[in-house]
């Protein structure tokens, strides 16, 4: 029997450590495995017996790429447990902060991690030698996102200003005004990014995914809403555990999440876009249409275009939030500790991030559960490899390996989150 094995021992341009293994038997993919060998750090165990107020700072350290997502899911879960609602300008500031992280993280992925696959470079520094202006545009756009996070959060990575109930200090209207001007320039760059990525050459591959995302009646989803799918799922965040289940496979230090009724699902830009297309701001919706995206996109290689559309959405939304901002009377809502269980699901750049906490009377954490987007996407990534690689088997090993890596990078996997990095092993016999 002809067997061919393709391996990538350490997957580059993803955040974290993982490897890939593809086993081909007689021209068919027999096995596709994404192994995450990021060393485990045991956050859920470390959170026990910490104060509820410590969760946003501690969980941020799960991921240096999307710390805001961890802070947001944790504060929402805590507020849910403690019976507190944060609305008005504080809610708007949280959305603004999240816009900053989307712009920063998505632009990093689009320009520095993913575009080099389409243009034939090893990385963005190599790409800059031929396309200096493009890379500089990307860096400037990314910087605009970081400037939002730095102003509102105190610094770009592991911001210090988020707390359960709101913020430690809120900006004045005057603090934010220069940022709006800056973002208008970024919005132009984001629009150009949509047009640029739309012109890439995409492999023609589609699957009928189960898309899952947070969904809000009036807004493109960030912080709150119900959990919905394109197969009729429509549940409160508190019911997550009744519909999703995690399991542990030997080849990975990240847990796999699946629907309880069996089957993988896909989180992130493609899912959010398909499930919330009509809630995009008009500018982003028009740009998507002009880029040739229908209301649903099932080609994961095109996720780079959807990511660019979401950067445009976030720039436009951030400008609107700043223009409507009125300084709140207090930087945070007062909170009294009590026993309870709380749930939070928010949209990290790479997909829905779920937190659940059980608190004791004094506000100490008795139990914590965190389900990052990349562990939820793991099964879908492996299915993409199994389904799509077959059409690429005529490629020589190195080109096939590269194509498989690109297939994983479609997901912008954050393996530090899912625990972390990629090796590709292709076994062709």
């Amino acid at each position: 029997m002809a067997t061919r094995t393709i391996k990538v021992d350490y997957l580059a341009r993803v955040e974290g450590e993982a490897s890939l293994k593809l086993v081909v038997r007689d021209g068919r993919v027999d096995q596709a495995q994404l192994s995450i060998f990021e060393p485990p750090r045991f956050f859920e165990a470390m959170l026990r017996d910490r104060d509820f107020t410590e969760a946003p700072d501690i969980t941020a350290r799960i991921c240096g790429i999307c710390p805001v997502a961890y802070q947001m899911s944790s504060v929402h879960a805590m507020e849910n447990a403690l019976g507190v609602t944060v609305d008005g300008p504080l809610r708007a500031l949280r959305r603004l902060l999240y816009c900053g992280e989307w712009i920063e993280s998505h632009t990093l992925h689009v320009y520095m991690l993913h575009a080099p696959d389409f243009l034939g470079y090893e990385g963005s520094v190599e790409m800059a030698r031929d396309h200096g202006d493009l890379v500089r545009r990307g860096l400037d756009l990314k910087k605009a996102g970081n400037e939002i996070v730095a102003l509102l959060g105190g610094r770009e990575i592991h911001p210090i200003n988020v707390r359960v109930g709101g913020f430690y200090r809120v900006p004045t209207k005057r603090d934010l005004a220069p940022l709006a001007e800056r973002l208008k320039r970024a919005r132009e760059a984001a629009l150009a990014t949509v047009q640029w990525t739309a012109g890439f050459d995409f492999p023609d591959r589609e699957r009928d995914y189960t898309f899952v995302s947070v969904s809000h009646p009036d807004e493109y989803p960030f912080n709150e809403g119900r959990i919905v799918s394109n197969r009729g799922l429509d549940i409160a965040t508190a019911d997550y555990d009744s519909h999703f289940v995690e399991s542990h496979e030997q080849h990975s230090t990240a847990l796999y999440a699946q629907m309880r009724d069996g089957g993988s699902y896909l989180l992130g830009p493609l899912a959010r876009y398909a499930l919330n297309h009509d809630r995009l701001r008009p500018l982003a919706r028009e740009a998507a249409r002009d880029a040739g995206l229908g209301p649903v996109c099932r080609n994961p290689y095109r996720s780079i275009v959807v990511r660019a559309v979401e950067v445009l959405q976030a720039c436009d939304e951030a400008i609107a939030l700043i223009e409507a901002y009125e300084e709140p009377d207090h930087p945070a809502v007062a909170i009294t500790p009590r026993a309870g269980i709380g749930f939070g699901a928010t949209e990290a750049p790479r997909g829905m991030l779920f937190h659940r906490y059980r608190l004791d009377d004094d506000g100490s954490i008795a139990e914590a559960r965190i389900i990052p987007p990349t562990s939820q996407n793991q099964a879908s990534i492996e299915e993409d490899l199994a389904n799509y690689a077959e059409g690429f088997l005529d490629l020589p090993d190195e080109a096939l390996r590269h194509r498989c890596e690109q297939t994983v990078r479609n997901y912008d996997p954050c393996i530090s989150c899912a625990t972390h990095f990629l090796r590709l092993e292709v076994d062709r016999g």
Binding site: R41, F42, E54, I65, R155, Y168
Partner: protein, 260 residues
Amino acid sequence: MAKAPRKPKLAVWKFASCDGCQLSLLDCEDELLAVAGAVDIAYFPEATRAKVGGPYDLSLVEGSVTTPHDAERIQEVRRHSKTLVTIGACATAGGIQALRNAADVEDYLAVVYARPEYIKTLATSTPIADHVPVDFELRGCPISKRQLIEVLSAFLAGRKPVTPAHSVCMECKLRGNVCVMVAHGTPCLGPATHAGCGAICPSYDRGCYGCFGPKETPNTEALSAGLSALGLEKRDIRRLYSTFNAGAAPFRDEAKRHGD
């Protein structure tokens, strides 16, 4: 014409960490292309697939040692590196994951994983300097990108980086902040914490939580006395010292002094 001098080879290595400190390099949006022009980025998998073999003139190491495999790998990294600089609290103090050092790792495994037998881990999370000689340690959770650029510039110029080891209090004074502890009674680790962040937390009306780790010769005992005078209980004080630099000796010992 004389041949241009060879550019120094830079490698970036990851151990147990969140990726945030190496991301700081990509977050230097204004300097990144200049850095890429001054050094040969020989190994930086988060940024590029390209790989150039060692030896490396400068290795930046992020993360702590938490697995048997990583304990061996760091030896190899050291062998291939002329200068080795550790970046961030995981690499310099073991990171937040060093909380396991005072706990039962079997219990940690059972809390997180359904099949603990699939996981290979050490009972401790330790800084890189516990395993190999380190040429320079850059503090912070995360590091400051301004200080990272200083480390790279100093390396290129062949001088020692300037990263003062005094306390966050000095930075607060330089910024003209009102002391949050004296004026507002907010618990603050600033007096015992290594400078470098620019006193961000007090500038945002919150107390420092020590993410740059202990300063040189900190008087943690006096600070803890001040914290209890503000009404903090033993447990609160223990928690305050037990975060991202929980493995750094002065913080670890002070937390232990406030044990049950």
